[in-house]
């Protein structure tokens, strides 16, 4: 059975979540492309989730995404609908596309909806037991031909396969958030994964125009393998600095160092909030369990969770408060764990922090401006060589962070999580939008 045939009936389990909903949009769009080629064929995308409320939100999200896609593709869609005399204006064509696409979708809480699927995406909660239970149930519902793609970002694929008895019909297919926008997919085959499934995964990646980076089946894979340790380093630095600058000051310092001095799209604590403090803790737990590495935990994360400060996003995509407080997705405060409240990031605070850190290198260009700059490489070189000449706390912290992040990345290659330095760099640049890979010559 080839991929196009498999795409005639697909299920997404955990479809109402952040990742599931994005995967649903991507597969829905691909199904529509096939539907245009074979209008008489029936296509079905079954979107299954435990939350009825979540499914309502999912319907709205998918519709909005289909509208956006149709608007973006309007030039070609006019050709697609050229034989429909009633569809004249762009608005009518966008509506037609969205209506046609929505017709492909089945929404429901019943896993039974997946019965006829030959391709099943799983994007449920990052919990081994729940995942295994779900696979055991699905295995009974679908045919033996059906293949499974899991969006797990940390649980070993071989473990899930074995516990669920999937006999190699499972592959790791880790999209980055949000899947509709992010180009990267980490692909993780276990020792059991069938060749056919590997081929399907690779062909699908091309169809979805994603950048596929292979990772070996070691808990955390490349993305979280790096991110968790990178985050832990920042948390350790915070513990080291808090004596002098107090906790909010130390968090603020490391966030600013990682964002501006290291030219990342957002500071490390903003990223942890974006992913969710709860998710960060959960992934650490999974990795700790599977790797047997007791250092993969942090008391600051556990304390935040104890205080109920979890970060993550609201259904509309806006940022919930975590280490930082947000107003319209911009950090406006820093959490003071002792008091259980946020210290405002006002002008006085910024001045104080700037004074502690010292200036940015001369000719500093922020991440966003560098992103599309054709002279990016030269400017990055200048930035880091200037940092080395500076005698400030900001420069010192940045260089030590740069060194650590390189060490983490190199260890991923040494421990055979990644096959090459290029693969680690590809994950960080494509999945985390870094301007440069962690394995570089800047340090």
């Amino acid at each position: 059975m080839n991929l196009d045939e498999r795409l005639r009936d697909v299920s997404v389990i955990g479809a109402a979540g952040k990742m599931g909903s994005g995967i649903a949009v991507l597969i829905g769009q691909e199904m529509m492309r096939l539907k245009f080629e074979s209008p008489d064929r029936i296509y079905r995308l079954n979107l299954i989730d435990v939350s009825e409320k979540g499914l309502d939100g999912l319907r709205d999200y998918i519709k909005a995404q289909f509208v956006r896609f149709a608007e973006k593709s309007i030039v070609s869609l006019r050709t697609t609908y050229k034989d429909c005399p009633d569809l004249v204006e762009n608005a009518e064509i966008v509506d037609a596309y969205v209506n046609d696409a929505m017709k492909l979708l089945n929404f429901g809480t019943d896993p039974f909806l997946s019965t006829n699927s030959h391709l099943v995406f799983e994007a449920i909660v990052e919990n081994e037991k729940i995942k295994v239970k779900t696979y055991k149930l699905l295995k009974k519902l679908v045919s033996k031909e059906a293949l499974f793609l899991t969006n797990t970002s940390s649980i070993p694929i071989g473990y899930l396969d074995e516990k669920s008895g999937l006999d190699g019909r499972l592959i790791g297919y880790h999209f980055y958030n949000p899947p509709v926008v992010q180009k990267l997919v980490e692909v993780i085959g276990s020792s059991q994964t069938k060749e056919e499934l590997k081929n399907v995964a690779s062909e699908l990646g091309k169809k979805l125009r994603k950048i596929l980076v292979p990772a070996n089946d070691i808990s955390g894979f490349i993305g979280n393998g790096h991110f968790m340790r990178d985050g832990l380093f920042a948390l350790d630095e915070v513990m080291r600095l808090k004596g002098k600058f107090k906790l909010p000051g130390a968090i603020s310092i490391m966030n600013r160092v990682s964002q501006d001095f290291l030219l990342r799209p957002m500071g490390i604590f903003q990223l942890i909030d974006y992913v969710g403090v709860d998710v960060f803790q959960c992934i650490l737990r999974v990795m700790r369990t599977h790797l047997g590495d007791t250092t993969l935990k942090h008391k600051l994360i556990d304390k935040m969770m104890k205080n109920g400060v979890k970060g993550g996003q609201y259904p509309d995509g806006s940022q919930k408060d975590g280490f930082l407080k947000y107003d319209k997705n911009r950090p406006v405060g820093i959490y003071d764990l002792r008091k259980g409240e946020y210290v405002p990031i006002d002008d006085d605070w910024k001045k104080k922090m700037d004074k502690n850190l010292g200036p940015l290198p001369e000719g500093f260009v922020p991440w966003k401006a560098l992103l599309g700059d054709s002279k990016k490489e030269d400017k990055l070189k200048n930035h880091f060589s200037s940092l080395k000449k500076m005698n400030s706390m900001g420069a010192e912290l940045a260089l030590s962070y740069l060194k650590k992040t390189k060490e983490i990345a190199e260890n991923l290659v040494k421990q055979k999580v990644a096959t090459s330095a290029d693969d680690v760099n590809a994950v960080l640049t494509n999945g985390f939008y870094w301007l440069y890979g962690p394995i570089n010559e800047y340090i």
């Binding site: 070609s76 006019r78 050229k82 004249v88 204006e89 762009n90």
Partner: protein, 415 residues
Amino acid sequence: MPFLRKKIYACAGYNTISLGTGRKEFHPKKPRPGIEHYIKEAGLGSIEQIKNPENIDEGVIGNFIADRFCKQGNLGGFFPYVHPVFQYKPCIHVEGACDSGGLALVTSVKNILSELADVVLCIGVEIQNTVKALYGADYLAAAGWYSGERKNGHAYFFPDQFSQRAGAYMEKFGEVKTREGMAQWYVNAIENARKNPKAQEYHNTIQDLFAAGMTKPNPKAFCEFLNVYDCSKVSDGASALIFASEEGLKKIGIDKKDVVEVVAFAQVQDNITTPPPDSTKLTTCEIAAKKVYERAGIKPKDLSVLEVHDCFTIAGIMAVEAAGFAGYGEGADFVKEGKTKSTGIIPTNATGGLIGYGHPTGATGVRQAVDVVHQLLNRASDYQVKIEPNRPFGMISSMGGNDITVVTMIFRKTE
């Protein structure tokens, strides 16, 4: 015998900011002023320059398609909203696609010629940022023949119409020189707009404008022969101008030194159901220019300032040919050589034109006239061009649809 049977003057011009992408204060998701605000701002901006607004006899409002962009019809009803002194006075809304403003100008002049009015307040207005560009393209496509052309037309119907013209022109006269001429048109438009605080491109910071203008078109997402820099933007804006007879000027207390004379106009209509006779030229614009020169008794060389309808860079190039400044097929070189720059042989679109100032469609014809009047009165501040004593004339050419509806009007300094 002069073309106009009585002397008619224009004065008290006013343009609002052309609001849309490019302006720092514009944000697509933030609320913006509605059409009534623009009509009022432009109308008040104009009547505040005269002494007795109660002596304005009539209003004319040019607007293309507020019924779709703003779900608003019956625009004459906003005339008394401009100022209570207009309560119960006549007002008419005129429409001729992107030449609605041009039609408002000639309607105002005709009202005075009819002797039923001595002073007319002419307003042009359009609001386009209420919907995304691809839906706006649907609305603006109404300037073409809906039942005959729209279904098989491009998503971006009008850009494609002029893209086809650009393609035909390139094929006939050479791709490189045409593209370079178009890029230079863009450079001139932005350089001029940067001197005009009300222009949509006033805040433009692109360093290499020519390189931007040379961007390769992307037919998958847009048009085959046009890039986004070749196109005027989506704009909200309004303009107003007062027309008056000799008696009218006295009634509103305006001195002759503050007015320019309307010497002649031409209003030319082509058949919307037939394709252009020649894609490589603006035939209707050419006829309208010839007519207005003849009626004014002047030649192109008598003009010190020109305003043409550069909805697209290629339209600008063809319009300069149609206005008689460059020979057929020589427009691109003419522009490339800098002859339409503010310091060139014929300063053209010195306030940025449709590409630089913006193109609030129904306002554009009036905006062009306001700018020519300011130039002839030497009141164009930073973007003032030299008005030669032996060339006291200025002309506008305003186009609706694909060269379907055209108005030309020639103005002269009064002394």
